[in-house]
Symmetry: D2
Subunit: 435 residues, 4 copies
């Protein structure tokens, strides 16, 4: 009873706070466009930063409900434009159809730290546990603006190494999402001359990497992840470098979700490395298949075959049966590192074949493997399946220990992208053989 | 005859070139948004840079005619949004109403030098002698994007001084539009400790100032421009500085016309100077009234009184008569430095009164004095009219030798802006007395 | 037997290596002074770096024996100078009296990394376990040159903080000699806004701090070290800062031993902090008395009284007796943290009095407490003795848990220095009371 | 009479000023070496800067007379060292033989701007019109220290171009001593991509180039200077660059006279250019022979033949006679550009032969051509004589219009230096043919 009352009081306070904030937002918008409304914008920034978990949903609600175009104005402008598609009518249409929210966000962006505040705002929106669908237009507006503001043309690529500022390195440690970095010593090994790290920075978010990629320079394309992550691994000599392996790519800023950064970063890094070391001829990844084990377990229960041709599906079913002999009907053994590492030759071949089939047929579907979709959409080729490649906890749990090399052939990425977009996955002959 | 044939051939070649360029633009647009279409974008940049004077209008024509939203799609989306203003319908509306041109420009902006190319493209559009009205939508799209990309939050303010790079100084010499800089010696004087220069830079246009302002630090508010521009003037001592005078502000980039930069720059500079030298209490300008002489001549012929109250108009007419005694019926003497400098007390008072009335009543009108409109809209106060303030050629010809001090009282600018927007010019008591 | 043979062979190889190196050194010296002997100098640098532990003493031997001035030439020049002290004779004298070694080192210094090599060379000399006396002239020459090259005018003071390069921070962790830094987390706490770290850098040894000092900003002069070193201590607010405490100063480069850096650093830091935060009025240290326990134990056995007046010595003997009641005849309890922390009031007063007497009387002697000598010679005042100030292992073992605040009163340091040089220790009235 | 009195009064004031300054110098010296005598040193710097033209000679006099080693101490130390050359005796000798002046200068150097003050002090000493011989020891001490402080290892080489700071460029304009720069436009041409400029900077004299060299990148070794200096010359394309020509080298700091900078700079520049553009195979100069005309005129009057073999001298005399036919007995025509430019083939050959003989035989002598001595001592080869190479005023007056290419063959400079030091000038076969 008391608690309910307290909640109720909270809500009232929160709504009042939001009401006040919205009033300042309106004031900011009411300034003629050329105005210098720094002071007001700074005020809005301060108030947004002060929103607590209770107030935030109210703020999003008001943002979503108000600041929208007027349906009548839009309809009238659309009719006029339909009647005569001249420039005046078009410009008028654009003006009335654009939500005022966008102009609001643009003006907030003029304040010091405005960009940072808006990126954080979108992060909080995306992280909110409430039903976000009702805020979809708010989210779309922020995304629309970020795509423009974080255009690769405005980003700076920097090498991250032992000469970098400690607070940048700290963020790399914190945000590495693929192969966790175990403290400063581990990081230090990953910044030795045979490992590289590159990140994108934005002038308005100085000192904060947006995304980074880790690269290993090796003599040949790797089939296992453990040697790459070994803190005590001997540092390779520059003259032995033949292959650059992108073994980890991590976003640091959840508020930029969906804004294309990774593909631009990979291409820029590949270019930079080729300029520095012409002897490096091959650029590839060593990537997980994070949805593989789940798919196999489903498949063992007659799951989704992603529209494979019947013959292919039959062969896959046979491979699943082989695995069931080893790992149990529910393939429960696939989740245990010892059992995967003890895998016989025939079972390994089956696992490899299934992974290949899964990647090739699922990658074209929205619910296919996300890592495969990212690289193939980027123009990479599916080069090789590696069984036993990662027996660490996550590797086993998600990918059944299997990893893939995606190959970036810089001369062909554009054509291969097009093939993928047109519905065709490009893969190496070796992968076919696996099938 | 031959010439006509040659022109015709030219046109055919130009159209072919544009046709090819448009094809690449379409290809760039056809890439899914996440694609890394660097290579294509770079290609587009190269081809745009290669457009000659014959091809350019064709390119603008195609840009203006194609890449527009479909009227039917827009109408259908507007109807759906009218029916139900949910987020999905809104997002859909925004998508179909936005010209594809904007997405095209955003993608061009991803290429190295993309921003520079687009800024130059708008400059060429604005400088074109053809009828620009038919390209209004193209121009509007570029302006819309630039307003976002050149947000003050993304600009860097830098001090320009004798430690600056020579190529930056060279651009300052070249673009000073108010009081021409007569070579490096003149510039050097303007960068001594009692003069300051500040400029905005954009990360993507490194090394190119976008706009700069020149400031004089003085013991009191100046009433004449010549001492400020004197190359051999003795450098003032820091302890004597009480007033900071913005005596010149110039844009360097015609392609950014209309994008608000100057007002933000002035405010940032005032803040920076106050932080550095707290003893400076007054920030003002010494500005021309570039439309004054023309208005006086018109007024002498019964011109525009900008809706003055009748009594005021009567007094102004009396002042005009006083001037006509001195300068002739057509006020032709107003355009001669010797005659203006020999002005008697009564005539000077009349000139001052007329300038004050003109500024106060015209500033609220679109066709009013542009400099006055800029500063008053910025929140400045009309502080003082100075007769005999600038007897140099342009000063006489445009402003009849008269100049104005606009005062920036940092604590009041916000309120004064509002007054101006609400239709009220704020001016000092001294100016009233002039009337 | 075999081992002897092997050693012998080693020696032969080493001597040959040194012989070759000395030949290149002679070649470097034989070039006329203006010559560009880069190639030769670089060669010498490479060979010196390649000297192993066996060769090094041979190299020092030859350096010490050869490259000396000729006694006959010196004598002859001295006689001529005695006869007539004109400039020519003086210049001649200087030329023949200076060991050629110095010119050799100056030329080595022209090579890239020459400075680094010579600093390392002196470090190895000082660390050598052989009898160094025979290399005293070599050592003196290097010291003489370093005093010139590492003149404070040539050093750059930089703030070390979380924005510093990781490899600089790593060296701070590694070289902190007073209060060991326990990993990156500990360091991070020491770089929060209420802690500061400043270091000297030399352009030729970029990226390598030479010496650094750690400062705590506090509300009052501290009497215990533990709260300053607590990793989890709450960060103090800037407005509470009244006192800056130099709580640790560490050299990073043993090859520069004896070159004055610390006193210059402390003065520069004090100046920088005062410029930044005028509210800080007090600069002091919290320093160990590393020789105190040893002296007390000696005193208990009738040791060195540093020429105290008889009355003072009597009182000290009484205090020692008081301590012996508590800690045993040999004062063995002074080395145990629990017993020191359980000290009664009377014993604490005795310990404090003895520490004061020891510092005041020993500081003027060469074998007195080195930390006291450093700060007093720097012009600091002996401000307060703190019993129970450091109960950590080293603190107990060396200083019997006692620490001192030395006060840097920037207006008085020059005068107090002079007093100290003249044989007078300046101390606060509170310290007298302790006695 | 009055004037004499005034001078006398001046002298008294000057001596008093110097007396006060010397007292502070003594105080600075009396501080124990480790002392932080910043305040005192800063004081000395201030007082030295304040010395006027009257006081300065007095200051030099006192510096030269006092601060010298004691002849008795030196003699005693020399005797002890003669008796036993052990390290202790040597260290003692060095201590008593070094003038205290050096320690004084080293301590002055610790103050901010100390280095700058001392460099300026030596400049004023060298520029003084008084008899400098009595200050030779002061001068030698400064030179000794500067040679150590301005070691090439401590200098930073930087490219000077249109991105450089204006105040650096201004100094280049001002100090260009060989081919005067006619304002900013001329400078701008000399910084285009086919011209380069490099300078040495010292960390303590930031922003002040010490010496700079100008380089032209050309397709072939040039025989005339005018095309290189032409402001309107078309900028050469990078792919055509085969030869790098050092066409001007100028010192900016007269206080560093005699300190070797130029030779180090040339070698570093050659290395940097070769690293950047491997297609450049040839490094040479286009240099004046500033003493040639004077020598020819002397020779026409039976002057100095620099120890040529008799046969060579005979041939030279014949060439002189040829020239006298054209230019008059006193060779007065050699000083007129029109007559030199109208030179017939035979006369040109004679002039060329004489220049070659002069350079080859004079370069080994102290009073030989200084430019030749600089480059040959640097290891360059005398590659080609160019008649009619510089018809500008100075070129005619000093070099009779003739210029030389000295060739820097980086692989051979070391050996050729040695040859030169050993008394042998290395020259190209073409030059022999001239003879």
């Amino acid at each position: 009873m008391l608690e309910q009352l307290r909640d109720h009081a909270h809500t009232i306070v929160a709504k009042r706070h939001v009401g006040k904030l919205i009033a300042i937002c309106r004031r900011l918008l009411s300034e003629p466009a050329e105005a210098n409304s720094f002071a007001v914008a700074r005020n809005v920034v301060r108030e947004i930063e002060a929103l607590d978990a209770t107030s935030l949903p109210h703020f999003f609600d008001v943002l979503a409900k108000e600041f929208n175009p007027s349906p009548d104005d839009v309809l009238e402008a659309a009719l006029r434009y339909k009647e005569d598609t001249n420039a005046q009518n078009l410009v008028h249409l654009m003006r009335v159809a654009e939500p005022q929210r966008q102009e609001l966000f643009r003006r907030i962006n003029r304040a010091p730290d405005g960009t940072r505040t808006l990126v954080r705002l979108r992060r909080r929106l995306l992280e909110s546990k409430s039903d976000q669908r009702r805020w979809a237009a708010v989210e779309a507006d922020l995304f629309h603006l970020f795509s423009s503001w974080f255009s690769p043309g405005f980003l700076e690529m920097r090498t991250v190494n032992w000469n970098s500022q400690a607070h940048v390195l700290e963020q790399v440690i914190q945000h590495e999402a693929v192969h966790a970095i175990d403290g400063w010593d581990d990081l230090r090994r990953r910044l030795q001359p045979d490992r590289r790290c590159f990140a994108f920075f934005h002038p308005q978010l100085a000192g904060t990497p947006l995304i980074f990629v880790e690269v290993a320079l090796l003599a040949e394309m790797p089939s296992e992840i453990a040697p790459l992550l070994d803190k005590r691994a001997v540092v390779g000599a520059e003259k032995s470098f033949k292959v650059a392996v992108f073994y980890s790519i991590s976003n640091c800023e959840p508020g930029l979700r969906g804004v294309s950064l990774g593909n631009f970063l990979i291409k820029r890094v590949a270019q930079a490395l080729q300029d520095e070391m012409p002897q490096i001829k091959k650029f590839c990844t060593l990537s997980p298949i994070p949805t593989l084990r789940r798919w196999l377990v489903d498949a063992a229960n007659g799951g989704d075959w992603f529209g494979m041709p019947t013959q292919m599906q039959r062969r896959c079913e046979a491979h699943v049966a082989t695995l069931q002999n080893s790992f149990g009907d529910q393939l429960e053994g696939l989740g245990q590192a010892e059992r995967v590492s003890a895998l016989g030759k025939a079972e390994a071949a089956s696992l490899s074949a299934l992974a290949a089939a899964y990647l090739i047929y699922s990658a074209r579907k929205e619910n296919g493997d996300p890592v495969a979709r990212f690289h193939l959409d980027n123009g990479a080729r599916l080069e090789r399946i590696n069984v036993h490649a990662n027996l660490a906890a996550t590797g086993i749990k998600q990918s059944a220990g299997t990893m893939v090399n995606y190959l970036y052939d810089l001369d062909k990425v554009e054509d291969q992208r097009k093939s993928f977009v047109a519905g065709k996955v490009v893969f190496a002959r070796g992968v076919v053989k696996d099938l």
